[in-house]
């Protein structure tokens, strides 16, 4: 079996996202598709899945042209797609989620539950996920387990092509090994696995062939034995990357923000720290350590039960985000889609959201001034595509969405910028850009608090690191004078 895409083009509302992509995959092959955010990976997946029609071009299976008008057509051709976003019904059992397409019936039409559970168990075991009890309610499983059920669901009717979109994003350790083993077994059974990821180490380990796309075009295809991680990053970014993190010189200025004795019942307690102008401070903690809650509270979005937040030389005690913004604070939350963007609105609307009154003339918004401001930010942060101002943010890639959020906050002219997991789900090339941007902002005198659960990042991109454990600050160190192990020790709470 051969799957071919020829000259696939796609535009959203007139904006070209794919510019003629050619792709060939064979049975029994793991075909990795890598590319930076915004390269067109997600669009390509949607076309393979039948979720979006292509604007031009064709798709062939075994040389025969196939029309894909809906996900149903893709299923009928044996193409199954597992998206990054979960599609399980959280209130139903694993069995129900797996067998939704057709349950075993008793005579009379009632569902034969014992047979259904047995069938589900058999299915999970056959693909190495036997540890999951099919009777469990899907929503109660860990995210990693849900991901596995998601994959199992795609395998129910033995697909010929399996498309996996960042399947490893939520997996670690043995789960990840189970996934890799499964992918290899599927390949040996003759399935074509299209593996989309920006974890390059995995791609090099797993893939038989690698296709690199950039700006909607295929710019290289290679094999793991003939390339390296560095070369791939270079291809994705369109240049060689000498260094991931900019060299920081700790050039710290006057204090900018004082947080003293801040507490909020059940979330964090007695948190005190000071941020200085021109300084990047990392805040590291494991999931559940209270970091994001702390950020929201400092920003006035959640009330504190005790303690104070004060901007140096300015007011304190913010009770609304509006007051915090007026005092010079900005917060990029960890959940872009949930609290960073209004997805259905345009890039221009989103960028201007926190400064709606900045472009008014009389009671009305001056569209000319607004357009200029937006164009300036799009250019400064290199948001792509370049003429995206009137595009809805829904159609931007993850990294460019993140830049749009950042643009919104930079327009407020902040003195203190709080970034909560700004690089989650962002590819390496865009990450490097974001680190460089943060560095530039600090050089301009901004004070940055970088919240992260990525240990390498929290040490590499900052001057100083605070460590949080179970709602308390348990450690503080200069980033260049501490090891990852030491930081982890603080974070887990054993006294070093």
């Amino acid at each position: 079996m051969i799957l071919e895409l020829r000259g696939v083009r796609k535009d959203y509302a007139g904006v070209q996202v794919l510019h003629g992509v050619d792709l060939v995959g064979r049975r029994g092959e793991v075909l990795a598709v890598v590319g930076a955010n915004g390269a067109g990976k997600s669009t390509l997946i949607k076309i393979l899945a039948g979720a979006q029609p292509m604007s031009e071009g064709e798709m062939r299976m075994d040389g025969e042209r196939v029309e894909m008008r809906s996900p149903h057509d893709a299923h009928a051709r044996g193409i199954r797609t597992v998206y990054q976003e979960m599609s399980l019904v959280p209130g139903l059992s694993v069995t129900e989620n797996l067998l939704m397409g057709g349950f075993p019936r008793r005579r009379g039409g009632l569902i034969d539950w014992p047979a259904a559970h047995a069938r589900a168990r058999e299915l999970l075991e056959s693909i190495g996920f036997g540890a999951i009890d099919p009777r469990t309610i899907a929503g109660r499983l860990s995210v990693a387990r849900q991901q596995m059920v998601e994959i199992a669901k795609a395998l129910v009717d033995e697909p010929r092509v399996l498309v996996l979109d960042e399947p490893s994003a939520v997996l670690a350790g043995t789960d990840l090994e189970a996934l890799f083993a499964l992918i290899r077994r599927l390949r040996d059974r003759g399935v074509l696995v299209v593996y989309v990821s920006h974890r390059l180490a995995e791609v090099l380990e797993l893939a038989d062939s690698i296709v690199v796309i950039k700006d909607g075009r295929v710019i290289g295809s290679t094999e793991p034995s003939r390339t390296s991680e560095n070369e791939l990053i270079g291809l994705m970014a369109g240049r060689r990357l000498e260094q991931i993190y900019p060299a920081r010189r700790a050039d710290r200025g006057e204090p900018a923000l004082h947080v003293s004795g801040l507490s909020r019942g059940g979330e964090f307690e007695d948190v005190s720290f000071t941020l200085h102008a021109g300084e990047i401070v990392g805040l590291f903690g494991l999931v559940g350590s209270g970091r994001s809650e702390l950020a929201l509270c400092v920003f006035g979005a959640e009330p504190a039960s005790a303690g104070e937040v004060r901007v140096a030389g300015g007011p304190g005690g913010f009770r609304t985000p509006g007051q915090a913004i007026a005092a010079g604070l900005a917060l990029v939350t960890e959940d872009r889609k949930g609290s960073g963007l209004v997805l259905g609105m345009t890039v221009a609307d989103n960028i201007m959201l926190a400064t709606l009154r900045a472009t008014t003339r009389g009671p009305l918004i001056d569209f000319g001034r607004r357009r200029r401001k937006v164009a300036e930010m799009v250019e400064r942060l290199d948001i792509r595509p370049a003429h995206c101002a009137s595009m809805t943010t829904l159609h931007l890639s993850g990294g460019n969405q993140q830049k749009a959020v950042l643009a919104k906050w930079l327009l407020t002219g902040p003195r203190v910028l709080i970034l909560d997991e700004p690089t989650r789900g962002v590819d390496m090339a865009t990450r490097v850009e974001i680190y460089r941007m943060i560095d530039d902002l600090a050089r301009e005198g901004l004070s940055v608090l970088l919240i992260s659960s990525d240990l390498t990042e929290v040490l590499g991109a900052t001057d100083r690191v605070l460590v949080m454990n179970q709602g308390r600050i348990t450690g503080e160190a200069r980033s260049d004078a501490v090891t990852e192990d030491e930081v982890l020790t603080y974070a887990i709470g054993r006294t070093a």
Partner: protein
């Protein structure tokens, strides 16, 4: 002024992925707008060709007057729908503001009595808004309670219709400016000002954004509660004004008037492509929705179709219009 307030630009792909011919002018895809205009032109043409009454000045004036109530209510409803809410109380507010105005005419100068009528609408809208925004109650429930409460209050105020004798009371609803009724001009002015409000003022943009993602808006430093309350107040004001104009046009205020008016208002927004989930809708398209509804009503009246059949046909036409729109929207 951009017509589409927010939301993905329409693409022309049917549910099955087939392409429809597009109309692109100056880089903007106007297919949906064109379909809308075509529908309205078709309705008018059918009416003009099949009925000798339709094009008579009397009928056209009547049509323009009938449009006012639905139009005013639909604009107010659109503002609330944009926030992701709904206002079921507008029909009752129409009755209350009308009957209070008619009742006050005996003792107050007419403009003042009318101002009080509009003010009652503003008051009810504000109460709805505060209950939804401040106390976080579901808009459907709050305004459903308001629907029955305000209807009851209208009957408490007067069980019998009130017909003021002063002819000046009829002016607002029946005066003509040239060929066009003054009340129609007022409604058009509300739509025009409303369109500018929603697309070009910080408050209007905030209201649209709240329907898209309230948490993002809150974290952008915008007072979400105040803007939600404002939306319901605007709807209440429109309903109050509609009630006063309706009483003045008919010449008699009835406590029973306006039952199910909210449904026409919602229908106009939905025909205009507004999303009941909030964040998407447009004043121009909503106005188009009003035109479609009023034309259908008028046409069926001219044909002498029995009123129950009118309801059935209207329901079917709404479904048809929405289906056409759905096939023209990009799937996300």
């Amino acid at each position: 002024m951009t017509d589409q307030l927010a939301g993905p630009a329409p693409a022309t792909t049917t549910a099955r992925g087939r392409r429809l011919p597009r109309l692109v002018v100056g880089g903007r895809d106007l297919t949906v707008q064109a379909a809308f205009v075509t529908l309205i032109v078709l309705l008018v043409a059918t009416a003009a060709l099949t009925s000798d009454v339709f094009l008579t000045p009397a009928n056209l004036t009547n049509l323009l007057k009938q449009m006012v109530t639905t139009g005013l209510l639909a604009f107010g409803m659109l503002v609330v729908i944009l926030t992701g809410g709904i206002d079921l109380s507008v029909g009752s507010v129409v009755a209350f503001s009308g009957i209070v105005t008619a009742g006050l005419v005996a003792g107050l100068p007419i403009p003042l009595a009318m101002a009080v009528g509009v003010a009652t609408g503003i008051g009810f809208g504000l109460v709805n808004g505060v209950l939804v925004a401040r106390f976080g109650l579901a808009p459907f429930v709050v305004t459903l309670a308001a629907l029955t409460t305000i209807r009851g209050l209208a009957f408490v105020y007067s069980e019998v219709p009130i017909a003021p004798e002063d002819p000046a009371f009829f002016t607002l609803g029946s005066a003509l400016a040239g060929p066009i009724p003054v009340s129609t001009l007022i409604m058009l002015a509300v739509f025009l000002a409303g369109g500018i409000f929603l697309t070009r003022t910080p408050a209007g943009r905030s209201i649209v954004a709240i329907g898209g993602n309230a948490e993002t808006v809150r974290l952008a430093g915008i007072n979400v509660r105040r803007h939600v309350a404002l939306a319901y107040t605007i709807s209440g004001a429109c309903a109050g004004l509609a009630g006063v104009i309706l009483a003045s046009r008919v010449g008699i205020a009835q406590p029973s008037v306006g039952v199910a008016f909210e449904l026409d208002a919602i229908a106009a927004c939905v025909i205009g492509g507004a999303s009941l989930a909030g964040g998407r809708g447009s004043t121009r398209a909503t106005f188009g929705g009003v035109l479609v509804l009023v034309l259908i009503n008028n046409l069926l009246n001219l044909y002498g179709v029995q009123s129950f059949w009118q309801q059935v046909l209207k329901g079917l036409i709404i479904i048809a219009v929405i289906l056409v729109q759905r096939t023209n929207r990009v799937r996300t």
